[in-house]
Every structure is written in C-alpha cells, then in structure tokens.
C-alpha cells in the first residue's frame, strides 16, 4: 500500500455468519470488484445465553473450516486482510482459540502463511468488581444497577470491543484478525476507519452489511460489497441476479435494533435520521448523510451468562378429540398432578424446581398471548423441567411420565394412552443459562479490556 491517501475502502461481507456457507464464486466476484478487506461476524447473542454460558459454538467446525478455506484462499490471493468478529459464537477466549485452531489447520492444508492476530475479550469478575466499586459500571435499560454477586455468578463474561483493538492488530501486520466479542459493526468498520474514512458512513455501512445479504431483495443469495468514501457509501450484492434497493438498504437498520434511528457504539452514536438512500442503478444504492456523534465517555458493553439449573425434557402427543376439546382443563390438571406427585414421591416443594408444560399445536409458542381459540386437531405436550441438578430434573420428568402417558380429563372415566414419540421419554438437556449483564463499563482507553496476541496457534 502506497502513502497516497486512500479515496475509498471496499468491504466484502460474504455472509451474516461464519459457518453459514456461501457460493465461493461470490467471493471471487467481490475480489474482482476490488475488495480491500473481507469482514465477517462469527457470533451472536440471538440464539440465547447457552453459547456464552457454556463457551461453545453454535456453528460446527466443518462449516467454519469450509468458510475459512474460502476466505483465506481468496484473501491470500488478493493480498487483503480478513477480519472475523465474535469468534466461537459468544467471543469467549476459548471461542477465539477454537477458530484459530481451525484456521491454522486450513492454512497448513492450503499451504498458506498468513500472520494471524487473536484478540481476547473475556473479562474476569474480580477486575470488573474494581470498576464497579469505582462507579464505572452503569446499567442499560431494562436492567438495574449491577451487584457484585451477579458478576461472581457468571460462568463467562465478555466485553464487546469497538474497532480499536482490530485496528491495532491490523497495524501490527495481521493478515487475519480473529476477534473475541466485538460489536457486529466494529468488524466491518475497523478497516475503513483505519484508512481515514468518515465515521458516519463507515458505521452506517457496517450496520447495513453485518447480516450479509439481508439488506438485498434476496437474503438467501449471499454477500455484499460496501464502498465507503469521504461523502458516504454505496452498497451492492455480490450475486449479479440480486439487487439492493433504497428500501431494502434503509430497512436493514431496523433489524435486531430497538431504535431505528440511532445505534450506540463504544465511542459514540450512529445517527441515520438524515440519511438519504438513492438508487445508483438497478442493484446498487448510494447512502449519504449518515452522522456519528462522538460520546463524552467511551464505554464497553458487557455480556455475561450464568447457570440457572439443569433441564430435562419429555414430550407426548394427543389426538383424542375428547381431550383436545378440553385441552386447557387437561393441562391445568396435569400441572396440579405433577406438583402433587413430585411432592409425594421426591419430597420437593414447588419452589425447589420449575417446569413448563407447553401445548404445541394449541398455544405453545405465544402462551397466554395466543389470540386464536378453537379445538386443535392434534397437540404435542412438552414438559420442560428445570432443577438444581440433572438427576433431580430427570427424576421429576420420570415422576411425571405416567401422567404424560395416561392422564384423563376430569370428565373421562377411563385412562387414555397418549402417543410418546420415543422411549425413554426423558431427554437430558444439560445446563440451562440466562443472560445476567446488560451494563457498560466506562473506559479511558478503548484497548484496556482486550488483549492481542500474534501467531496462528492457540495456546492449548
């Protein structure tokens, strides 16, 4: 790269998620269009607290390896960097090492020699307690003030980094940056910001591309290319048969975002109130007028998950019209009977465990928000039990089993036999988790909560 100022930076985003797969031809097309960097998110909180709590990935190693092979080959051939954010779904340190291990294997197989940076984002409770005591941790709605015990109860805590650690890794010569938890946007924003592109268009473009093809008229068709310059950005899909329209691009800022006009990043707030979206041609959109307001205080958002217990699931199915005609009554009786039988046989009080009986085909999804009434044709009755340990959860499900097989409605004078799809009827789900943190920590230095290590090999 020469010393002349760069006029535009082209960011290639192949997909919304590393491991989701894409057609390699779309990457080649993006390279041919002049991509300067490939950026991709590998994580999310969208699938719940399990992945952070257990420090495991939602994606499978084979799919991650396949996608990394496609990326590393293309990037190496073009001499451009690859930035991966929120490695291992939740961005724990082991998630970064997991992706680094897969990347090392792929590079060995492909004969590639790329300089890899790993950025760790995991936080320890003791260090965060010092921030808490110093008044540097603040809640985001709807959560209240943080208590030290909450920090201690977490299985894992990560901080969502901004672009600065990624920029630092790139400046240190990394050709592949494997970041722990990062804001979805920081992954795509880092390279353009490093090359002096303006913050408003850069963060806006980064938000628009974070889900790959979601901002196009065919979200299934793969990636996009964003070109950021001094005045704004343009965006086009990598599949020639697919289009971006002013509406499809503008609408993406709504996605998974509570406020459609603003988005907070560690260093400030993206403001798209005055953004203008115009069609450049049938499939490319130009966006201008995006602004970024630098915050008085730099903050890093924390995510934490803790174990709530252990779950066992059991599932039976009902087709008998007599039961279906009184399905709510039957379910209420089931709940009462389960509590009674668990008390009698296991000696557990109601507050020593929890269960949820869900009637799939009746109201399982929306529960008491369900607006429809009327008799269903068949209903799957799922019993989900949560107890302090796995054997207790399974014992409760086993006590419930005769009821799940034979419980009649109050008006029936015989025992029906319901349809179990499998036996044993109990499925152990292991630990269950909940998110505990929705707080930010004030940081004087954007790097202070993160650690960069160079070298492709995981320490394990």
């Amino acid at each position: 790269m020469g010393s002349e100022p760069i006029k535009a930076v082209r960011v290639l985003v192949p997909s919304g998620m590393l491991g989701a797969g894409w057609d390699h031809a779309t990457i080649e097309r993006g390279i041919a269009l002049g991509a300067d960097v490939i950026s991709i998110d590998a994580g999310s909180t969208d699938s719940g607290p399990y992945y952070l709590g257990s420090a495991t990935a939602k994606t499978t190693a084979k799919a991650v390896a396949r996608d990394l092979r496609s990326l590393l080959r293309a990037a190496s051939g073009a001499g451009i960097p690859v930035v991966v954010g929120s490695c291992g779904t939740s961005g724990t340190d082991s998630g970064v090492d997991w992706v680094a291990g897969i990347a090392a294997e792929v590079m060995a197989q492909e004969g590639l020699d790329l300089k890899v940076a790993r950025i760790y984002s995991e936080q320890n409770a003791a260090a965060l307690k010092e921030h808490l005591d110093a008044g540097r941790i603040h809640p985001l709605p709807p959560l209240g003030p943080l208590r030290a015990e909450t920090l201690e109860s977490c299985a894992h805590i990560v901080g969502a980094m901004g672009h600065e650690p990624i920029v630092a890794a790139l400046r240190a010569g990394a050709q592949v940056v494997l970041a722990g938890r990062a804001t979805d946007t920081a992954v795509a924003a880092a390279y353009p910001l490093m090359h002096g592109m303006p913050a408003g268009p850069t963060w806006h473009a980064a938000k628009i591309v974070e889900c790959g093809g979601q901002c196009t008229d065919n979200p299934r068709a793969g990636g996009v290319l964003a070109t950021i310059d001094a005045g704004g950005f343009t965006i086009e899909p990598l599949d020639p048969a697919v289009s971006c329209t002013p509406i499809s691009v503008a609408a993406h800022l709504l996605y998974e975002n509570a406020n459609p006009f603003e988005m907070r990043e560690p260093g400030g707030t993206l403001d798209v109130r005055d953004a203008r979206y115009t069609a450049v041609d049938g499939r490319t959109v130009r966006v201008e007028g995006s602004r970024f307001h630098v915050a008085d205080q730099y903050t890093i958002k924390l995510e934490g998950a803790r174990i709530t217990g252990y779950e066992t699931m059991s599932f039976t199915a009902i087709r008998d019209p007599l039961i279906l005609a009184e399905i709510d009554t039957w379910a209420d009786l089931m709940r009462t009977m389960i509590r009674q039988r668990v008390g009698q046989t296991l000696g557990l009080a109601d507050d020593e465990y929890a269960f949820d009986l869900r009637l799939y085909g009746h109201n399982a999804v929306l529960d008491d928000l369900e607006p429809e009434a009327g008799p269903p044709r068949e209903v799957g009755a799922m019993l989900l039990v949560n107890a302090p340990d796995q054997p207790t959860a399974t014992a409760i499900a086993k006590v419930a089993n005769p009821l799940m097989l034979h419980l009649p409605t109050p008006s029936m004078d015989y025992l029906p036999s319901l349809a179990f799809p499998f036996s044993p009827a109990e499925v152990e789900r292991g630990a269950a988790y909940e998110f505990t943190l929705n707080h930010v920590v004030d940081c004087a230095d954007p790097m202070s909560l993160f650690r960069i290590e160079m070298g492709e090999n995981a320490d394990v």
């Binding site: 709605p141 709504l254 998974e256 509570a258 928000l369 269950a432 998110f435 929705n438």
Partner: protein, 108 residues
C-alpha cells in the same frame, strides 16, 4: 364481511430480539394509505401494545417512519431469553398478535 387486520395492510410483519433484553416488531405497510392507518396514534399506540403483549405501557417505544411506510415497536423482553418460560428464543413469532389486530375500514 371478514375483518381487515394489520397483516392485510402489510407486506411483512415481523418480530425479533434486539439484543437479549428487547423485542422489536416491525410493520412494513404496503403503501402510504396503509401507513396512515397503522401510524395513526389514536389507533396504534403504546397502550394498545401494552395490552396486546401484557407489558408496561411506559416501557413501550413506537417509531413511525413515513419514508419507509414502517411502524416499528420495541419493548423489553417480558420473559428472560433462554429461561424455562421462554418459548420463543429469537422472539421470531411474536409479531402475530400485532399482525392480526383488527383495523377499522377508513370509511367504515
């Protein structure tokens, strides 16, 4: 005559998590006429959403975006994500009560 619902005026009604602690719902109306109906504060407002989703009215945020013919609604997730009471991990099916909200005919 069957009732007209918001879904009939929209080409998409969707819901999704906005982070682990918020649900967001979006009505993409077909045209400006549909938008005018859905964006009418006397018809669709924080109180209506609070009743429909049994959440605190003060926590409901309604955004009206005429340039996109979109009405967007956000509120804190009433059920903790991944908890034993959570039946919709991604909040992907929570649009339905909103979608089937009956709409008064413009001149009816």
């Amino acid at each position: 005559m069957s009732e007209i619902t918001l879904a009939d005026l929209a080409h998409e009604v969707r819901s999704k998590n906005a982070g682990p602690f918020w649900v967001t719902l979006e009505l993409f109306l077909r045209d400006a006429d549909g938008y005018r109906i859905a964006a009418d504060e006397s018809f669709l407002n924080e109180r209506v959403i609070a009743e429909l989703y049994r959440v605190e009215e003060s926590t409901v945020q309604v955004f009206r975006i005429p340039s996109l013919n979109v009405v967007k609604i956000s509120f804190p997730r009433p059920v903790s994500q991944g908890s034993i009471r959570d039946r919709d991990m991604h909040a992907g099916q929570h649009h339905v009560p909103l979608a089937r909200l009956p709409v008064k005919r413009p001149n009816g």
